[in-house]
């Protein structure tokens, strides 16, 4: 029994099946990230957990209690939305205290809870402002503060960083990770950004087209993906998929991460021409067009000078390569 248990949850809109049977257990205090491409049903799944959508079939249980028929407000959850969703007519303090006020908590307790949450997020000076007077980053901090005030059993985050700019996104990401350590609460976090997933999660749930593809710790997914979808989704830049037959292997597809390919000007397994080079300072990404394998990405650490149209040779590290069958399923060693 965990903080959240999903058993055979499905969701259909008319004849369209959006969630095709999800079983999942999230442990107490765990930071669980749902990740997948747009339209994979991750947000719908979160809304089912929140009670904003009804599951067509299956059971949702929070702390061992079936909550399918329980209203969102009584599920002991708090949700942070992508668009912040602050009440425009209320001050920051009232925004954060509204849920407690609705629950009939005494005024002094509400003030104490709001002040405690405001301290945690450095929102003190903003408490008397209205949402319109805040910047995007401040609004999202208020939205997170509103969630903290309720002391929920379960925090739900629906792509909370998508509307923020890059620098703010990193800062808020660190803030959320710090809050998770500080509060020790169970958190479910939806994102399409695999970097957010990798950096925040204790456990990642990779979803595709309404189905769970793989569940595991970030490094487990990185080092041990079950199929080409997970292998391609986790890791940036994306894994290279090579036609294994052309390299004299028995498997159908060989996946090699860009950091596991050696690049040389003189000799190597696959010949090609450099089509583009991205220098990021700490690392250099070289895109090589090969006649047999198409465009491959190589990630080199440090600065490297490759010129466009230069001939280059690639050698995948066989020990770090993944093998997949024709259906994209991973072939294990010796299997």
């Amino acid at each position: 029994m965990g903080a959240l248990t999903l058993t055979g949850v499905t969701k259909s809109f008319g004849t369209v099946n959006v969630i095709k049977g999800v079983d999942l257990t999230v442990q107490e205090g765990e930071f669980c990230v749902f990740v997948g491409p747009s339209g994979c049903g991750k947000s719908t799944l979160l809304r089912i957990i929140a009670g904003l959508e009804d599951a067509t079939a299956g059971e949702v249980a929070i702390n061992g209690r079936r909550v399918n028929e329980v209203a969102p407000a009584r599920r002991e959850i708090a949700m942070v939305f992508q668009s912040y969703a602050l009440y425009p007519h209320l001050t920051v303090r009232d925004n954060m205290g509204l849920a407690l006020k609705q629950a009939g908590v005494a005024r002094a307790d509400i003030t104490a809870s709001v002040d405690r949450a405001a301290d945690m997020l450095a929102l003190g000076p903003l408490l008397d402002r209205r949402p319109a007077e805040l910047s995007g980053g401040q609004r999202q901090r208020v939205a997170i503060g509103r969630a903290i005030v309720r002391r929920p059993r379960l925090f739900l985050f629906d792509e909370p960083l998508s509307n923020l700019d890059a620098a703010l996104r990193v800062a808020t990401r660190i803030e959320i990770a710090r809050l998770h350590r500080q509060l020790g609460a169970t958190m479910i976090y939806v994102t399409h950004d695999q970097i957010e997933a990798m950096t925040l999660a204790d456990r990642i749930v990779v979803l595709r087209a309404g189905k769970v593809e793989q569940v595991g710790a970030p490094m487990e997914l990185y080092n041990n993906p079950v199929n080409t979808f997970v292998a391609g989704f986790i890791g940036s830049p994306q894994m290279n998929f090579l036609k294994a037959g052309a390299l004299g292997m028995r498997s159908d597809t060989m996946g090699v991460r860009p950091e596991h390919i050696a690049l040389s000007r003189d000799s190597g397994q696959i010949a090609g021409t450099v089509s583009h080079v991205e220098k990021l300072g700490g690392e250099t990404l070289v895109y090589v067009n090969t006649p047999t394998q198409g465009l491959l990405t190589v990630r080199l650490f440090g600065e490297h000078d490759y010129a466009v149209d230069e001939t280059a040779y690639l050698t995948p590290d066989p020990a770090r390569a993944f093998h997949f069958d024709a259906d994209g399923l991973r072939l294990r060693q010796g299997g």
């Binding site: 809304r47 929140a50 009670g51 904003l52 209203a71 969102p72 407000a73 009584r74 959850i77 708090a78 949700m79 939305f81 992508q82 668009s83 912040y84 969703a85 602050l86 009440y87 425009p88 007519h89 509204l98 849920a99 609705q102 629950a103 209205r130 949402p131 319109a132 007077e133 805040l134 995007g136 609004r139 509103r146 629906d158 509307n163």
Partner: protein
Amino acid sequence: MAQARISAGRSIAAHAVLITYTLIALFPVFVILINSFKSRKAIFAEPLALPTRETFDLIGYTTVLKQGDFFGYFQNSMIVTVASLFFVLLFGAMAAFALSEYRFRGNLLTGLYLALGIMIPIRLGTVAILELMVASGLVNTLMALILVYTAQGLPLAVFILSEFMKQVSDDLKNAGRVDGLSEYTIFFRLVLPLVRPAMATVAVFTMIPIWNDLWFPLILAPAESVKTITLGSQVFIGQFVTNWNAVLAALSLAILPVLVLYLIFSRQLIRGITAGAVK
């Protein structure tokens, strides 16, 4: 702001068009106002002339205020307009919220059915409405007019408001649900304030035809005690002789309350508090 990029020439042209339109629209009002302060002879001699020391005459206003219960008519019109407006906005907004917010079987059909009223004039049903009012004993009451005008105003209200309510952020309503607000609180406290400009638009569109209507007051409530101002002014228009002074004075006075209501709503049109709510 994009305004900075619009050249002066374009701006002048746009203003010229708008000013011309304003003048055309205001001209009849202006003619009514100046003539209401002139003697009968002067009205016919030079209808477009401003009242001078010789032609200035308040006979129209004194006639109106002496003859008939003009303030009573005024009050009736106010009651009917404000009450109808209240019900149109309340029920229209509620129906629009249900149509835009909840998925249920027949949602689209219900919406279309409600919108049908925009295309079919309610006056086609006058005979049936009269029979209904006679049967329910509502003839010669203000309630009859309020009911009919509420029905008349609802289709457009539902149509416009449901479009606007679809634009209110789902996240905001869901945040309210997670925070334990009831659907009624979400409707009254979160959604209504955000569609206030649309409500004001609907109010203006609903109010003017009700205030100006002659048809239903004449048929459903012609009794002296429940006459509206438009019907009351008709006593000065005879088959053979029309007391133009009185008619123009009555019309001038009738503009005032509607102008006040319009000013109240138009301020709402401009004010937007959505900024900063989401994104």
